[in-house]
Symmetry: C2
Subunit: 384 residues, 2 copies
């Protein structure tokens, strides 16, 4: 599997590195914007490039349902379909099958579910998830896992982690047998996608450890920690990450799925996490919540009605360079589509700039200072 | 009033010219994208600049209701509020009061109406419309007129045109007395906004002529033909324009409000119209209708599901340079906001490029050839 991971320098347990993937290099620690349906909602691809986006996440479940993975395969794969010539990671579809479907039915074989779009019946198995992800052609694929719900009993969490481990093995075997079918095989001779494993285990530290240890036996090129951000308190998220990370191979990328707020992604990177993704920056943006270097800002607040400052005076993004809080508030109040676009661009800029600052701080040995600055502003809400 | 209009060359009755306005020069014939609520829906300002947009239209009615003209005045005027340092034209609010309000009540003094946002009661008079437009600070303002409905009896059309003429005089008098209050007065010493008159007269050619002749007596720096695109057949629109244009001063800009389709704007420019505006390119875009050099394209059509061509292979816009019909169809089917943005950028590019082609054809003496090319493709629908 075509992934080389080099570590430039460390500030234990954090590290700065580079993943070399078929569609380009990705500097770690990295934040990956979420492009659910082959688009980061409301943001054009050239803007993402201008912001320094190095890798996007695509959602297998959504793309499988619409426009369909076979369509995307025939169009040359997801990179070509959405005109994104840089690295992409696809999830396995597991999380969405669980979060968007009330009527799912899990068996040893896989999951039966109904489309949230039209109610039609579908089944995902580990093998099918691999087929779909190979058709999409992301640089990094994820094993098909069962995302353990929260709260879950110990017994339930164990049963779920065992199923995820059996599915991980089936995912890997099927992936290895079919990886040559990736749509860009001809354009990248000798290269394939890479498959990452996913640690589960609910909120039980011993189960997390067991899941990690047994998963590592599959010798995959990278490992993720899944089943977090499912409603548990933040301290529990942090504890599960802290417990699991040391058991994942230090020489391979370590990915925490579905996190987090700006202060959290810095915190986790400082703990040694290499990759993160989250819908928060774009989803919050569409609801008028801006992240700034001074804290969180609900741009709909009346106090911004005649505020001529940029959203974040310390920000160098194209939105802060051109527009005022008063204008962004107006767009939000009027539900103008431009508001979602501009707010998303700013929030993504803040996330990406934050991770660049983390990478630089690791190189400069100043991570503790960055961490305390970010913690300070973390929960702050400016302007109510 | 600060407007100088120079005509570079003519291909009778069409002419190519330049309007010099406080916020810059505008080449005519020009198409003005509509920025209803201080935003061209879904398109960032720097994209509009990159497409060569020279002047935007803002809607007085919408901006008066939200965020309010006093707010915009305190923020330095509409240019600064929306970060658009180039020319702007505002309409008088008259058309929206009539089209968005079922419960309006017209008197000699003005129009009572209810906000379409919250039902609150308001009144626009010619004097009030001028006050609002001065607070917004557009380079060009429009007199407050009554937009005659279609169909209207001859008697009704006459009564309406008389009211519009009385209102035009009141608009001019109030405008002249208060033009020094424009928010950017200090930044543009000695310069003011310019006020244009509006011809009404329903679909009666003699009333149109009378309206034009009596309006011209006010000696305004430009004149518009209003009350078109209100549901009448296209031939009638054309006939009213043809009847009215020769009566408007040749040395001043002539503006037809609220038109049209790509083939129409070429047609009208060839008849001697200098300025046009219309929501069609952006509104159609948000519904998946693309204008191309081959005709109209409903991008939601199934036949585009795997079509890897750009929307318009002859187009040089950034959307056609990067994205396929298959991708735009996917965005439209999934109701992704990026679809509205990309489709709007393409449609505006086609409109603006079309007017650039008209200006060039006037200079080159090739307008008849352009006209017949555009007429040919005009009504064509490609791909059903």
């Amino acid at each position: 599997m075509s992934l080389a991971f080099t570590i430039q320098n460390e500030q234990q347990p954090a590290r700065r590195g580079t993943m070399h993937l078929p569609h380009g290099a990705v500097e770690t620690p990295i934040f990956m914007p979420v492009g659910t349906a082959a688009t980061v909602k409301a943001v054009p691809q050239d803007r993402l490039e201008a912001l320094g986006t190095q890798i996007l996440l695509g959602n297998t479940y959504h793309l499988y349902l619409r426009p369909g993975h076979e369509t995307i395969r025939r169009l040359g794969g997801l990179h070509r379909f959405m005109s994104w010539p840089h690295p992409i990671l696809t999830d396995s579809g597991g999380f969405q099958v669980f979060s968007l479907n009330q009527l799912r039915k899990v068996s040893e074989d896989g999951v039966r579910f109904r489309s949230h779009l039209d109610g039609s019946a579908h089944m995902f198995t580990p093998e099918h998830s691999m087929d779909v992800q190979i058709a999409l052609g992301a640089d990094i694929c994820m094993v098909f896992d069962e995302c353990t719900e929260f709260p879950a009993s110990r017994e339930r969490a164990r049963q779920s982690l065992e199923l995820t481990l059996r599915w991980a093995r089936r995912s890997r075997d099927h992936f290895l047998a079919h990886a040559h079918q990736v749509p860009w095989a001809v354009d990248f001779p000798g290269q394939t996608q890479s498959l990452f494993g996913i640690v589960q285990g609910g909120m039980y530290t011993d189960l997390r450890r067991e899941s990690a240890e047994r998963l590592v036996e599959l010798d995959l090129p990278g490992y993720a920690i899944g089943g977090l951000s499912v409603g548990e308190p933040r301290e529990l998220t942090r504890a599960m990450i802290a417990e699991t990370l040391p058991l994942l191979p230090a020489g391979k990328p370590r990915y925490v799925m579905g996190v987090g707020y700006p202060e959290e992604i810095v915190e986790y990177a400082a703990m040694g996490v290499d990759m993160m993704d989250c819908v928060i920056p774009t989803r919050a943006a569409r609801h008028g919540l801006l992240f700034t270097r001074e804290g969180r800002m609900n741009i709909k607040n009346r106090r911004y009605a005649e505020d001529q400052n940029p959203p974040d005076p310390e920000c160098g993004c194209p939105v802060c360079a051109r527009y005022t809080r008063a204008y962004l508030r107006h767009l939000a109040m009027a539900q103008e589509p431009l508001g979602g676009t501009l707010n998303s661009i700013h929030n993504l800029a803040l996330y990406l700039d934050t991770m660049q600052a983390v990478r630089d701080a690791i190189s400069l040995g100043t991570l503790p200072q960055l961490l305390s600055r970010v913690r300070e502003r973390g929960g702050a809400h400016i302007g109510g």
